[in-house]
Point group: D2
Chain length 302, copies 4
């Protein structure tokens, strides 16, 4: 991570100045505010602001369901009920704003989640810093032969060394040329930034403010903190998970149980489970599932 | 407005308990938190929570535009620049959560603004209260003969009295029957609430939590605080305007100048203005505009 | 259903005039176009337009996954793969536009699905017809004692008769008064329509054009064609299901298997299934689940 | 543009096979279907599918406004009325699906428009082609000294030549290394594609299917076909404008008049126009506007 001393000082100032508010406060979240949690070699995640807590979810649910919710006796039970039955709107009543520094190729995956607000550092206006993601050698792996995407076996030490040499060399050269094209202030023939940026490879770091409601954040985390997600976005999701667990502990716990740790069974899979519970020895052939489905189904039950 | 003593007491409790936070705080908004501002005969608007302030808008813009924003020297100037050039994403970085009590026919207009989060009181679970919007006599007006929608001249005293008699009588009878169909707890033959509610007219009050970002809220206010909006939704928008003015004074002031008080000229209208400024006496016929456009154009310049 | 002879004639004209197009055509959907399928006593669903077919889903997926999708050999297999792994964007590439006539209280549930485009008949401009939903006697049921929402046992014949008497009487009276307040064209003291409408109960029919992509439509159908949905919206969802099954047969079949007929197991439930498969006799107490969860879990496996 | 002979043949096949449909058909749009219109050096825009036409906009408006719309006598007049009064929902009833090939840095701007459906070619699954955007020399311009973004004066011939040398050289080297890291099928130590892609600069071409409704498309075009938009995205917007003009001629014409050629005046600017029309000689100082606002205002009226 590369915070400048100025930035570090600014964070400390922000963290030292508390002000009274009448709003709902999450103690767990206050402990995280503004702090930069390192991710990858130069990236970070910081919580800039938040709205609501576990109680705010219940409060919204109780507006909706009125006296009907009385039967669920406490907040935790209500939150589990809401999560189990996909009542998503009460979770939308909490909001979080993050400051994230991340490689461009990660940003391009991230932005596919459209229900969020984003302000990204603009390379039309400003000059990007010389910071590139260079993977740790143990992250360098071959294309998976099982999936059509994702990684399989690690590369040999020799191949890894060559990859790192390439990534470092090309990043340095491309950035040198970027600087050269942009030129020095006051000199002639300085290429417009909106053009010069096209020479920068996808492992350069960018940053943005990203604001999202809790329901959509949990959807993002389910997909991106999943074992099948690309490592470079998963480490961001993992870091955010820790923060959310402190922000809305009951909601996060229900999320872990019903979403992250849960699984969706198809009609066919459900039928097979029933047959198995009755003692039948079901095989892929007798299951009605394709080979791929059967493999995934078996993994689930092992 | 009909707050029960319990609700009033709850608001006072909430307002008496401040807690320290490290987040951005808007002093102007803290003064409004939880208070119920009366709207129409039984409705209200309350701020339940908020995120961000004027500075948060600038902070997000500065992430985007980096050093490029230095030339705009202060926050107010930057906010005016953003508003003038339709840079909407920094305004999305502020969020507000309202508790609104409103007649169902107003709720049906309101909900057409889709980019918001909503938790409405559910008449499938709970029983609605006996509260109906009955207009003030001076609000009873005839269908406009200029527009195809909206109101024109006020009704005569006699006609007004008859309308109020109808509205009150039908509301009372429909609610009596609603109660009768729902029956008493523990008795047999109590019609399901999800069915009984269909007998209730559109002036019954409902309530919801409504959460929206500042950009989308301003868009809502531009349409609903406008003179052409139906009175019954405009009074809600007007009340929200007051709150927003205290929450983000710079943004609200720019909004008033560039949106509420501004106007959009068509290509034709712009051309006519230029011709008029050169001294030409342009008429509807020579303007190239239709009669309707011309009438609206003249109104703008008078 | 109440189509006028004019409307019926218009539908026949539309269905008799085919035009050549270069676009993807779904034969199954062409057979449905414009036809009004009756729902409830006066409602209907009609397909007005559509975009794409099963092949369009695969085409979009193949843009995304390029040569990687070769391993899935045919369109049907690819569609099942996409559905199983929650790859939703290819399904967003199909679009449907429906014309729906429905009671207002159903419209209020429906509109909570925000990712769609809507044009509703405006009672500010126009006068609503005298058409109200009056349930069939067998639909009149008591509030459920198990759930906090929904219906339980049917009402007695006597109670049913009373409910129908109320619903019919109040609808007629409210509509008579609505007409009286609006008055006759050319006469004085005609109340503005935007006000008069507030006297109409929630079982009056409205209509709208509703346009949505296939992914969001399937999400709507999963919730609204579900056994727990209110009957009066479920019958609309059921009718739409039939249309979708003919429009995109492979996608609909995958949807039935993975969504409608499938189930989501929590982490705890998954663990219990594993223990049961190993021969353990798990009870609610030893399951770690609440009573409500356990009841739902047992229902799933029976 | 680089269509392979196979792709060209596929387009010809698609264009030679028309099928009857009962749906609304836009003759103007049929002429464009599937054709690849070249943009920049290797990019293109193709219409893959569409839904609706000018008449579909009016049809939806007439559902909303019922008999109230009778006073607007024809479709074109109605469309102009809707555009002038920001009634956006009828325009949402038309939909278009485009296949676009574009440099990654353009794609990153484009994707900020969130209300659309996207399927992008995935570099996790597939290998990107060796195609990079290399600007025409006349496009190489210096950073603007007036705006904080955008381009100003063209570079000298010498500086241009150096920029092109850099862009070509770095693209070639980065791509060579990308290929080397990915390796050959069947060989060991082939780096996973999801990692190798990070070495590719932002001027490499990607492609996607992009589906959007007409209202949101026009919003995109207003911003991106504007003179202030970056040239490399503007040329895509310009090409799309031509297609839309043939698809929905009345809507496009209203869009040109009210949006593209129109202007928004602030409250202050409107006031100044009125004063000027009364003969007052208003200066920046007496206008109440800032220097930037005044400059923009004067440009508008010249």
């Amino acid at each position: 991570m590369s915070l400048t001393p100025d930035q570090q000082a600014e964070i400390e100032t922000l963290r030292s100045t508390s002000v009274p508010t009448l709003r709902a406060v999450s103690e767990g979240m206050e402990a995280h505010l503004y702090k930069a949690y390192p991710v990858l070699d130069h990236g970070f995640v910081r919580v800039i602001d938040y709205m609501g807590d576990d109680a705010a979810i219940c409060q919204a649910a109780r507006v909706s369901y009125g006296k009907g919710t009385k039967s669920v006796q406490n907040d935790e039970g209500l939150i589990r009920y809401l999560m189990r039955h996909w009542h998503s709107t009460p979770f939308e009543m909490c909001e979080i704003k993050l400051h994230v520094k991340l490689p461009v190729f990660v940003a391009r995956q991230w932005i596919r989640h459209r229900t969020a607000n984003v302000n990204e550092y603009s390379a039309r206006y400003s000059i990007l810093d010389r910071e590139f993601y260079i993977p740790q050698p143990e992250q360098l792996a071959a294309q998976s032969v099982i999936n059509n995407q994702g990684r399989g076996e690690p590369l040999s030490a020799e191949a890894s060394a060559r990859v790192l040499e390439i990534l470092k060399g090309d990043a340095a050269r491309c950035y040198d040329h970027y600087e050269e094209m942009i030129g020095k202030e006051g000199e002639p023939d300085n290429l417009a930034r909106e053009l010069a940026r096209m020479n920068l490879p996808a492992n350069i770091y960018t940053q943005w403010y990203w604001k999202v409601d809790l329901h959509n954040l949990l959807h993002f985390l389910r997909l991106r903190a999943d074992a099948h997600a690309q490592y470079e976005i998963r480490v961001y999701a993992d870091e955010i998970c820790k923060v959310v667990a402190d922000w809305v502990p009951a909601a996060y716990s229900a999320f872990e149980d019903y979403r992250m740790g849960g699984a969706t069974l198809s009609s066919k899979a459900l039928d097979v489970v029933k047959r198995m519970l009755k003692g039948e020895d079901v095989t892929q052939e007798s299951s009605g599932m394709s080979k791929g489905e059967w493999r995934e189904f078996r993994t689930l039950l092992d």
